[in-house]
Amino acid sequence: MPREIALLDALVPTLLFGFLAASCGSLIIDWLLTRYQLYRFIWYPALFRLAAFGCMFALSGLWIY
């Protein structure tokens, strides 16, 4: 994977896209969990959201580098 991507001729770190994808992913997970009321089973939703985001972002980092 290239570490930087030219977006409209501006070099942007690929990790930024990883960040955006991870945010979208966590939004989707959040929506699903709210929709089916799965937050019942989670002790600390905010921490869970952050952790889920962290996992996805780290995965994208691993994939890029």
Partner: protein
């Protein structure tokens, strides 16, 4: 033995008092401590991250944290979101302007002034965080556009750095407030909703008991108006807080609308009772008060008001019982009235009864919605609800335009100073000037706010001086840096938790963080510092003067304008070809007053004019709308024409309140009443439903009639002045 018991008793007492002290501390001081901790944690995190990423200005990230941090998580999310949006828009506009006019400073500054004016006007139109987004879109242009115009080759870098820093600040703030001692806004909504219901029940009960309408009930009513809007803003922010809050969103909004209706009807009834006491037949007044007491008893559980949803459900049952026996009771009371009373006095009674019934119906609807709100976080599937009408925007276009002009003028003055004197700290001064002259435009009394900000700016400058030249010079490493900035952050955020001096706190924050003497490395220079400090204070002073010159919230002129737009509502309620909805009228009237900030200054004598007009508008407006709703259902040969003429007379009266017009309106209403009354008494073959409609129309007409006749009303008071 006895000594031992004595000691034991003393220890127990001590334990009890210390336990009480602990619970007090947990309730009142602990949240403040938690909040201070959160602000500190978030800003240090932001500082560390931006230093780690080697961004140019860690202070922007810290400033962002300081600005968006609030005690409730949902508010932080909402404000962050709009700060991000505002910044993005502002940056895009800066890029465009730099691309177009970088060489032409006059054109550049002109278009900038135009943009800032537009954004300020936008911020006056929208509420809360959206309004903040507009302000930000305006002043970002100063922060990004001006330096970029001076060195156009760096534009892109400046923009990217600004976005990154703000993003870091936002992420730190939202993360910390979501993770560390999260304070859900949902809890605040719950407290507010519960408190409002019990306060309103209390109000109903006290007025029933003391039966003396007082100024205090007016004030309580006005506090409720403020509550309607703060609840609305909480509700808007609660969307961002995911769990649970979403389910009841519509219900809260519907409850808000229902509450407005209840409050208006209550006020109308109260006025009617007052008039009855002053001029009416004593028997009628007594009968009405008795019926009103029954209603207030229906709201009471064991001598207390309902404090939660379960109790509200009980109240709902009592209200249902009250409504089902209402007609019976009414007949009993009607029979007890002395027969020698005039028609007019009978009408007084009927009108009061009609209003009482309305109040009972609306209270019932309100209580039903209230008791159906479910606060548990995890709800089983909610039934779909029709979205109730939203709180719309109602504002005075002239006030909005003037606010825009004020922002533009401040920019103009500061840039003129900058260009003419070749001032080194010009950009600094312009930025602070524009920020202060646009940010406080929406506050209830900008003059006070800017004074507080000025105090904050002075304190912030002193603290920044101490920090820059005494603490930072000896600091080594991140830990020492953090130690050097911690006291100010704690002090300023502690001030922001106190509502009366919150702006002082934010003044300290903004000025301190703008002058903090490190970027990627220590780079404070006393000469630049003092120059910039002078520029800042001067800029705040200029915008203070501008607020004083263009005063659109507390001058006599603006009050008269608001009063006349309130009257305009009645005019359009009477004349508009489409029937105005009652929610619309209430919402428009409340919003106008709320925006002018009069509701927060009820105590002041000058604002009484606005408040009196507001109450008069609501009182007459609800009756006018009820009449217009009844009009198509009554088939009477010439009733609608008669009604139209009297509505027209009312509209004319509210357009220009004079004594002759008042008499004219009274006369035309009397005419309709007479016609309708003879119609009721002569046409015996009329079906019961039609009869009922006519009586309703009659009582509403009578209500307007007696309200116009009232010698204490604002319509008459105006004449005397």
């Amino acid at each position: 033995m006895s000594v031992l018991q004595l000691m034991k008793g003393r220890r127990n007492r001590l334990l009890v008092t210390s336990r009480a002290a602990l619970s007090d501390w947990l309730n009142e001081d602990a949240p403040v401590f938690g909040y201070l901790l959160k602000v500190l944690l978030a800003s240090l995190l932001a500082m560390w991250l931006s230093l780690r990423f080697e961004l140019d200005q860690p202070r922007t990230a810290m400033l962002t944290v300081a600005i968006v941090m609030q005690s409730r998580s949902g508010m932080v999310f909402a404000k962050s979101y709009y700060r991000l949006l505002g910044t993005l828009v502002g940056i895009v506009v800066s890029l465009i302007l730099v691309a177009l006019f970088a060489q032409e400073r006059v054109l550049f500054l002109l278009s900038m002034a135009l943009w800032i004016g537009l954004c300020t006007a936008g911020s006056m139109v929208y509420r809360n965080h959206q309004s903040y987004g507009f302000v930000l879109a305006g002043y970002t242009l100063c922060i990004v556009g001006l330096p970029a115009a001076i060195s156009p080759e760096l534009t892109f870098n400046i923009a990217v750095t600004r976005i990154s820093e703000i993003l870091i600040g936002l992420i730190c703030a939202t993360m910390v407030s979501d993770l560390v001692f999260p304070q859900r806004i949902w809890d605040a909504i719950q407290t507010k909703v519960r408190q409002r219901f019990s306060d309103f029940s209390d109000l109903l009960r006290t007025t029933a008991q003391s039966s003396a309408s007082t100024k205090s009930s007016k004030q309580v009513l006005l506090r409720f108006i403020g509550d309607i809007y703060s609840l609305e803003s909480f509700r808007a922010s609660a969307i961002m807080e995911n769990d649970g809050a979403k389910h009841n969103r519509l219900r809260i909004s519907e409850m808000n609308n229902e509450f407005m209706a209840v409050a208006t009807t209550f006020h109308a009834l109260e006025e009617l009772l007052r008039r009855q006491r002053n001029t009416g037949h004593p028997e009628v007044g007594a009968a009405l008060i008795n019926m009103y007491r029954q209603l207030s008893e229906a709201l009471t559980l064991d001598g207390k008001s309902a404090h939660n949803e379960q109790e509200a459900a009980l109240v709902t049952k009592q209200l249902t019982a009250f409504r089902s026996t209402f007609t019976q009771n009414l007949t009993v009371y009607r029979m007890q009235l002395p027969q020698e009373m005039s028609d007019h006095e009978f009408l007084d009674f009927e009108t009061g009864a009609e209003l009482l019934q309305r109040l009972a119906d609306e209270l019932h609807a309100y209580a039903v919605t209230y008791s159906s709100v479910n606060y548990s976080e995890h709800k089983s599937a909610t039934e779909e609800m029709v979205a109730p009408p939203k709180l719309e925007m109602h504002f005075d276009p002239v006030a909005v335009a003037l606010a825009g002009v004020r922002g533009t003028l401040t920019l103009g003055i500061m840039t003129a100073l900058w260009l003419l004197t070749d001032w080194r700290s010009g950009i600094e001064a312009i930025t602070i000037g524009v920020i202060t002259s646009t940010l406080f435009a929406t506050s209830p009394s900008p003059n006070q706010t800017i004074k507080q900000f000025m105090i904050g700016a002075i304190i912030g400058t002193i603290l920044a001086y101490i920090c820059n030249f005494h603490l930072l010079t000896q600091a080594q490493g991140f830990l020492m840096l953090a130690l050097a900035v911690t006291p100010t952050i704690l002090f300023a955020s502690w001030l922001t938790t106190k509502p009366s001096i919150a702006v002082v706190g934010s003044g300290i924050f903004i000025v301190f963080l703008m002058h903090i003497g490190f970027n990627s490395a220590y780079n404070a220079n006393p000469v630049t510092f003092i120059n910039d400090a002078i520029a800042d204070l001067l800029a705040v002073l200029v915008s203070g003067v501008m607020y004083g010159l263009i005063d659109i919230s507390s001058s006599a002129w603006s009050r008269r304008r608001i009063a006349s737009s309130l009257r305009g509502l009645i005019v359009s309620a009477c004349r508009s070809p489409l029937l105005m909805k009652r929610v619309h009228l209430e919402n428009a009237a409340f919003d106008l007053v709320q925006r002018a900030g009069s509701a927060q200054r009820v105590a002041q004598e000058q604002d009484r004019l606005v408040i009196d007009w507001l109450l008069s508008t609501l009182e007459i407006g609800h009756a006018v709308i009820a009449l217009r709703e009844l009009k198509p259902e009554i088939n009477h040969p010439y009733f609608s024409e008669l009604l139209l003429t009297s509505l027209e007379a009312i509209a004319a009266l509210y357009e220009t309140p004079t004594e002759t017009l008042r008499m004219k309106a009274l006369k035309s209403i009397e005419n309709v009443i007479e016609n309708l009354a003879t119609d009721i008494s002569t046409d015996i073959a009329m079906p019961e439903a039609a009869h009922q409609l006519r009586r309703q129309a009659l009582s509403m007409l009578h209500f307007i009639h007696s309200a116009l006749l009232d010698e204490e009303s604002v319509l008459v008071a105006k004449e005397k002045n």
